[in-house]
């Protein structure tokens, strides 16, 4: 087990608008011990009256990135995410603890094939894996299947278009722009078969998204013949898909 984790004061270095509902917060964290792609941090906010709220957010940045980047999607009636997505400015300080999470992680030296399946903002920890894959110049077979609502909801859209060394597949379930030639339906077994790789290739699968999405995808992967131990899941966010 990792040593006990302490709260640290982190400074927001920059804020990046990702979509109309999500922004990335770039943190400078003193004495950051480094993380593995797929891990997350707890964020603690303290109000003037001492009231505290904690939330867990996946790290979007690669371990090679000196900054720690969190991508936060706004949940309108949430307690913490409206503050993080609307109020926080560069120079603000927040408390973080982490990195945490020992299960949903991938290191380049573990090799591939890698099958990443994300629903909505469930892309965030998978993006850390893809960035790590790119930063290491990994030759592991890496494939992403992302299910998003509309094209404008896709996080890191430009970066996904530029990714080298990984195959990116996107399905848009709430309407595609003119000229879209990709999928427009929910992830199903046929789509997963088309993305591959075949279960016999021994891929590690990482599935992250809303609970119904994760359960449906994991069931499809099992039905296709992927062994249960090769399927890693993380439930993320109340909406998406």
């Amino acid at each position: 087990m990792a040593p006990r984790i302490a709260w640290r004061v982190a400074t927001v270095r920059a804020v990046v608008e990702e979509t109309a509902h999500a922004r990335s917060l770039v943190f400078e964290v003193p004495y950051w011990p480094g993380h593995r792609a797929g891990q997350h941090v707890d964020v603690r906010l303290t109000a003037e009256d001492g009231y505290q709220a904690e939330r867990s957010y996946s790290i979007a940045s690669a371990p090679e990135d000196p900054d720690v980047v969190l991508t936060v999607e706004r949940i309108d009636d949430g307690e913490v995410s409206p503050y993080l997505t609307e109020e926080v400015r560069a120079g603000d300080q927040l408390e973080l603890r982490g990195p945490i999470g020992g299960h949903f992680t991938w290191r380049a030296d573990q090799g591939g094939p890698l099958l990443l399946v994300g629903g909505g903002s469930g892309l965030v920890p998978l993006m850390a894996m893809l960035r790590h894959h790119a930063a290491q110049g990994s030759d592991a077979d890496a494939r992403l299947l992302l299910s998003a609502g509309r094209a404008e909801d896709v996080l890191y859209r430009d970066e996904l278009g530029r990714l080298e060394g990984a195959a990116v597949h996107i399905t848009l379930t709430r309407g595609a722009p003119p000229g879209w030639t990709g999928w427009t339906r929910r992830v199903d077994a046929e789509m997963l078969r088309a993305v591959g790789p075949a279960p016999s290739a021994g891929a590690r699968a990482f599935v992250c998204g809303p609970t119904p999405f994760v359960e449906a995808v994991a069931d499809h992967l099992l039905a296709l013949g992927h062994p249960p131990a090769a399927i890693h899941t993380e439930r993320f966010g109340p909406t998406g898909g």
Binding site: M1, A2, P3, R4, I5, H40, D42, E54, R55, S56, I75, D77, G78, E79, V80, S81, R97, G98, I100, G101, G102, H103, F104, T105, T211, P228, H232, T233, E234, R235, F236, G237, P238
Partner: protein
């Protein structure tokens, strides 16, 4: 729905709290369910949050452990944990 629900999805999201009570992050540890026999990581267990939290088997829903939260106190009940297998790293 509030983002309290977002926190309470699975054991991965509770890694910080679990690390507080176990002295280290146990979410990668495999648990064998005494009820249905499924072996799965604590991180993949379903989490339910209220006054405290409960972790349940992702296969059959049997209770694995509960953590009561009262101010700074953490009270852990692990009645449904038969075998937890922790590997280094």
């Amino acid at each position: 729905m509030t983002d309290d629900d977002a926190l309470c999805l699975d054991g991965n999201g509770l890694a910080g709290l679990l690390a507080e009570v176990f002295g280290g992050d146990p979410t990668g540890a495999q648990r064998s369910c005494p009820s249905c026999g499924l072996r799965s990581a604590l991180g993949e267990h379903r989490a339910y949050c209220g006054a405290g939290v409960a972790l349940r088997c992702p296969g059959c829903g049997a209770l694995a452990l509960r953590i009561g939260i009262a101010g700074e106190r953490r009270v852990v009940a692990m009645t449904g944990v038969l075998v937890v297998d922790v590997a280094p790293g």
